[in-house]
Symmetry: C2
Subunit: 406 residues, 2 copies
């Protein structure tokens, strides 16, 4: 309501005037962060709920009648522990897992447990916007570590920490998406992970590892998680069912050393996540995990191939380069440095193609010549046509000649 | 996991070592804050989901595939706007409602939008523990306003604010549950609400009104909400579907003046609440709201009557008094001041009767001679027997004679 009461002197110092977003979608929507909607198992999830009702009605009633356990559904935690062991070789008990409202809540709780305003925190050079926003929200001084097409470069990371030390800045922890990184699509090789773990121990610097895309591999070999390689407690492991099953379910989770779990839970507001979602996901994945991945990932590969083929066809000779991810949702487009993809983002949106320009992912707000293109959401056909359209739009707007007029 | 990494120098100053609770239930559980599990509409909710699937499958798929709108399901917000209008005479559009993970998240967002550490905040003399914990968590100096069996006494409130002013403490806002208060069960009469609104305007002090028990009236007349009486924007209205439908669904909501909504949303972590729950609640309540309340509330009355009859039978002559709520879930038991119900709480739990002693609800940690007894959860028969058992336990432990030995 418009209202007329004057709150100006009453708002907290931390609060920000945040517009309530109305999300708009372009005809060719490469700006989203969603998995393939064709594979969304609505029937499977609802059937799983139906089975729960038929066979475990008392259980369901009891769980809905009570406030959920702060760590969330014991059954889904048990399933998650089994999945972590079989998929990633990570051995934790269900009691060592906290389910959260998406991985976003998990990341928020851990950030709050470890961050005082002014603390320096390391991420990749380009980092998931949701994490970047939360880090900045809680006052972190975020520094991006140098990357190449495989992710963080360990020697450069070590040098960066030395350079920061000269300024009196000691990184508190490192946040990284090592498998199918958002936004660049890279996967960090095992050897680099081991080197980074050495650095982390030497620097007394925990690693928050976000594996929210780990289920979406369609090519190459999965690399062991940081947490697989190190069970000392220095690694905090975060993941999600948003990309594998459905974002709208709001189910993520993390596992960490006991004291980290307890500290993180002190920032929890309300109780554990939704029981319906937990039942639906647990029931569906117990029966369908392998089948679902086998349906999803070849489709993602087809979509990636279509986007990359169209990039080769339409962006050859422009000086552009792009990543070739082995999984996940994103291709990272790098144009010549003179291009400003931020300046023409809205124009391209109006012209029918959505993307997210680099600065949204950059701790220093740079990277305007880069863009994240989500290949996972649209059909292969739309990926092809949308990239062709994007090349036309860039051309029309003078991006390719570096004379962009906005 | 136990882990061996030393986080001692890394935890944030705000983080607290919070034990991960294992909830235990006594044989006669009057400690819970749950509505009647017999009326939990598991079948109705699942049928509503089934109907959604049959008739709006594309809609459901689209909503699950996308991250939810930050304000939550548009359909449930539309239903909620209609319910606020017909039940409470509150006229807001769906765009002016934010759905949250239970009312706990709503309260947390609003508290963060309005509270700087050290700010003085007013509540009732005894207040919902969840709100009290959040207020203290965000650094509020919480002061309980004097109450009688109808709730806050306006003249005493006004005097309290003057007294606080002499100490240089100016209350930032008032949080209140005016309808079926938690923990005392009182309902604030309309005349007092009008007086408190006058005070609020004179003192430039917004009111956060928590109506999470408003649907559970089985006797007497509902009083107009603060928000019904005042649409200037000074009232922030919070409510929930936890008590009416099921706590495990995690669905609450609030409505406030635009700028308050925007400030509050800046503390939101992740996107809006779960789509499955939203569909289930919307579908179920569109068809069954009146029928469901007509089934739930007479049962609650029967349960209250059983508990009060047993209190009359077993506590007469002990100097105890108790509230007679017209709705909600709680009877407030007041023993003679010498009794220490906090000291014997665990002993009573071990003896089969759960309750929550006063200090859990008291900003100043006092009220040890009081206890909240939830009448809504157990059967009428168990309410009778459990209160009789409680009298025996109090007697055995010397509570009634004021010689409690723990």
């Amino acid at each position: 309501m418009p209202g007329s009461f004057n709150y100006d002197d009453l708002f907290s110092a931390d609060s920000q005037d945040t517009p309530l977003k109305v999300v708009t979608h372009a005809e060719y929507d490469f700006a989203v962060a969603y998995p393939a909607p064709e594979t969304l198992p609505v029937d499977g999830l609802t059937q799983a709920l139906q089975v729960m009702l038929d066979t475990r009605a008392e259980d369901l009633a009891r769980n809905l009648a009570y406030y959920p356990h702060v760590q969330g559904s014991p059954e889904l935690r048990e399933f998650t522990a089994g999945k972590l062991l079989s998929d990633r070789g990570i051995s934790v008990s269900p009691d060592e897992i906290m389910l959260t409202a998406g991985s976003g809540e998990a990341i928020g709780l851990v950030i709050q447990a470890l961050t005082n305003p002014g603390d320096t925190v390391l991420t990749e050079r380009y980092v998931y916007t949701g994490t970047l926003n939360q880090l900045q929200r809680f006052g972190a001084d975020v520094v991006g570590a140098p990357i190449d097409d495989m992710g963080i470069m360990p020697e450069a990371l070590d040098r960066l920490i030395d350079e920061l030390a000269e300024d009196g800045r000691r990184p508190k922890y490192l946040y990284t998406i090592a498998e199918h990184q958002n936004p660049t699509g890279s996967t960090l090789p095992e050897a680099r992970r081991r080197q980074i773990l050495d650095i982390a121990h030497r620097r007394n610097m925990p690693i928050i590892e976000d594996e929210c895309y780990v289920d979406l591999r369609f090519e190459g070999e999965t690399q062991p998680a940081f947490r697989t390689l190190d069970d000392s407690g220095i690694v905090i492991h975060v993941a999600s069912y948003s990309k594998l099953v459905a974002p709208g379910l709001r189910l993520g989770f993390f596992t960490a050393q006991d004291d980290v779990m307890r500290r993180a839970s002190s920032f929890k507001i309300g109780s554990g996540p939704n029981q319906f979602s937990a039942y639906a996901v647990e029931g569906f994945l117990r029966e369908n995990l392998d089948r679902h991945r086998a349906a999803l990932n070849p489709l993602l590969r087809e979509k990636r191939d279509a986007m990359i083929a169209s990039l080769e066809e339409n962006f050859a000779g422009t000086g552009a380069t792009w990543s070739r991810p082995q999984g996940g949702c994103y291709v990272w487009l790098t144009m010549p440095e003179k291009a400003d993809l931020g300046a023409v983002q809205q124009g391209c949106m109006d012209g029918g193609v959505g993307y997210v320009a680099g600065p949204a992912f950059a701790p220093n707000n740079d990277g305007a010549h880069c863009a994240r293109l989500c290949f996972a959401f649209e059909t292969p056909e739309k990926n092809r046509k949308g990239i062709a359209r994007l090349a036309e739009l860039f051309d029309d707007m003078g991006v390719l000649s570096g004379t962009a007029s906005v």
